[in-house]
Symmetry: C2
Subunit: 450 residues, 2 copies
């Protein structure tokens, strides 16, 4: 039996442990935090909700957990854009019935995965923080209230998030590529509670976006009718987190930039001032895997391998897809673990590199373009073409969110479409300009006549 040690019982780690257990591995998960099922943790923790799209859904179906999760999720059929004048605009995600996102509490999803893993025989050690990794073993050392323990294994998986200790340990004295960038914007969460009548205060079955140069809000629905909003703002400056430090400054800012939020969140100012600001990081690194001899090895996955900005809502989706791809690579190389890890990195890294770039780009798009008429026109043309040619014309957002086409191929395809769309738009604009010119000629001649 192959021994696996998974570091981190977050979303990637707990799902990976399920896949490995199903494959017959003996799996131990080491997690720094306490068991999230401990009474009181759900209420006190910094749990937020996530948009689950096609990639995560496919992985959850593979392990047979998707349907069981349905009661814990809210389907989202499109985007509600909140404009600065208080008006709303609805953008449907796509044309098909299954083009929906599912909003789920990170906490609930995590607990479901941990329960499933335990059913499959996975052993969890809570309160165990990994402090060292021996890449040659491989083995990891944990520190817990019970003391220091070394855990040897055939396979070590580093699923310990964006600030991965496993990644840092593997990099010691190695020629590791690391690109780490923080966004100059951070975020805080706000709860949009249910209304006094017990009903949602706004459309529940949608993702809500407040775009803007000065700030950006995204909100996902919860099963209880509330929504969780994430407010993204610059760290610095008077309209940034640093400057918004008094009751009146916060109130004035939201009244000016996001007027309807003050009605949606009656205690907005109190919530805002009470919360800590969190930062956003992009991590690209290489290599993800390190063989140990010809039968063992260590590999990173999830945010430990590729943290991305959350503006495409793909971090967890990509992490789940990692688990599914790794599982397939293990199946394809049953007696060659290092070969499986190499195949996994080769198959996967180019695509998550693309995702990192797309997630950066989408920050700009969400801030600016969702409101720009040209952007909306292009987006509309994109959707019109998609409706006319549902199979051969698929917008990038749809490819990323509602399919499992690898990210890199999705981008390549969208680029080809974009070039065509550019010609189409240019042609349309040309026609419009010609029309404009005709009209103005007519008007001029009319004036000359009159």
């Amino acid at each position: 039996m192959t021994d696996a040690v998974v570091v981190g019982a977050g979303l990637a780690g707990s799902l990976a442990s399920v896949y490995l257990a199903r494959r017959g591995f003996h799996v131990r998960v080491l997690e720094r935090r306490e068991d999230p099922r401990t009474p009181g943790v759900r209420e006190s923790g910094r749990s937020f909700n996530l948009g689950m799209s096609q990639r995560a859904a496919v992985a959850l179906r593979e392990i047979g957990l998707f349907d069981a999760l349905a009661p814990a999720t809210v389907p989202m059929r499109g985007r509600v854009v909140h404009l600065a004048d208080g008006s709303l605009r609805f953008q449907a995600y796509g044309t098909e019935e299954d083009q929906v996102l599912h909003s789920v509490l990170r906490h609930d999803l995590n607990v479901a995965l941990i329960d499933e893993a335990e059913k499959q025989g996975v052993e969890f050690r809570w309160g165990h923080k990994v402090t060292a990794v021996d890449r040659e073993g491989p083995s990891v050392t944990t520190v817990s209230p019970q003391g220091m323990v070394e855990h040897g294994a055939d396979l070590v998986i580093g699923a310990d998030g964006a600030f991965s200790a496993v990644r840092a340990q593997l990099a010691r004295g190695a020629r590791t590529t690391l690109h780490q960038e923080f966004l100059e914007w951070g975020y805080k969460e706000l709860l949009i509670p249910v209304g006094e009548d017990g009903r949602p205060r706004t459309e529940l079955r949608a993702l809500h976006v407040w775009p803007g140069d000065d700030g950006l809000i995204v909100a996902h629905p919860n099963v209880d009718g509330s929504l969780t909003a994430t407010v993204f703002l610059p760290f610095e400056g008077p309209g940034g987190f640093a400057g918004l430090d008094t009751h009146s400054r916060v109130r004035d800012f939201f009244a000016r930039v996001f007027p309807d939020t003050l009605t949606l969140v009656p205690d907005l100012v109190e919530q805002f001032l009470a919360r800590d600001v969190a930062s956003l990081v992009t991590i690209r690194t290489e290599p993800w895997h390190v063989p140990a001899g010809d039968r063992r090895g260590t590999v990173l996955l999830g945010d430990a391998a590729h943290a991305v900005y959350p503006f495409f809502g793909q971090g967890m989706n990509a992490a789940f897809e990692d688990c599914s791809v790794l599982d397939r690579c293990l199946a394809a190389h049953p007696h060659d673990l290092p070969g499986a890890l190499a195949a996994f990195e080769k198959a996967r890294r180019p695509h998550t590199d693309v995702l990192a770039e797309l997630s950066k780009r989408n920050f700009v798009e969400l801030r600016d373009k969702v409101r720009s008429p040209l952007f909306l026109a292009r987006k509309k043309a994109d959707l019109v073409l998609h409706r006319a040619f549902p199979r051969s014309w698929v917008p990038l957002y749809t490819l990323i969110t509602h399919t499992t086409v690898p990210y890199g191929e999705a981008l390549a395809r969208a680029r080809r479409q974009d070039r065509l769309l550019g010609s189409v738009t240019a042609a349309l604009t040309g026609a419009a300009l010609a029309g404009l010119a005709r009209r103005s000629r007519r008007r001029r001649s009319a004036r000359q006549v009159g």
Copy 2:
């Protein structure tokens, strides 16, 4: 009096300490290694030689050390290219008398700077390794055989090289950008000894280059008539360091790829097998400086702030220019240390970012293009134009190496020239093709006639 602590007594740290002392600061330098002036260190250490160009020369002139160093340097007036067929080609650096590089042993340069610093009252603590930095103090903690000591200061300078402990400490819990990349090629050094007749075995007053896809050698002259060659090869593969592990493999490889080196270095195989392979890293990071209150702060410079591949021979030159720019910023903000550090980073970082890119590009150029006829033609056109218009047309290499035009401006200017040169080359190529067509038409009609 302002207290400064400089971490690292390498090239950047020792020069920075001289500038600070001249400015009236009280300076303490903390260095992990032992005093390089200790008898025996020069002979045993991994000291190699460096090409000193205009930027380093200007800084050394500012502190009045350039002329005193002359006996320790060898001027290089151009490049000798060693081709695979054993033939040599000379490329002069430029047109002016002062367009020379100076080859100097890192060790000798370092000792000269340390001597000068001590003359100016700088205190050096050898065998003191910095293990922690308190950015709020600022202060640094050293570990030495005498125990642990905390050193507080108004100004802390991290000049502790590419794997800077100061940089890592400043990044803890901060939103630090870090780009770290290793080249897939490493290097070993070889000594080309003086000939048996006591004379240099090859042209001494030049930089020597052996270009190639399979490997690359660069050699600088030493004052004793020997040269130090740096052999760059891929880490992996049969023709890489990993594969070149036996006497016969090394001999066969050099005989095939760099035939004349076996004559220049009689004990090449023994030297090659005895040396460790070293790696090459590019580091870009941000921020370089962290203020502490409104009167103190910490700043990085030299390789700690911007390690670059050595293919433009600018790492130390850039480090020296840093020291000079920092000195000017301190002069411009005499009562505002954080302001001076901010001005330094703002003035300097964009240019060293450009240098990092240029140094990557030059790796490709040295490997391939030095031999390509098109490259040589362009280079020749570049030099011809430079000779005709010495002030208004200056090739990129010349701008980087023989002037102190900031790197970013040098690149912008070279790009403008390159566009022109492209048209010129295109025109020339067009003319050549037209000539070719004419000739072939003539030949064809001749045939038809005959």
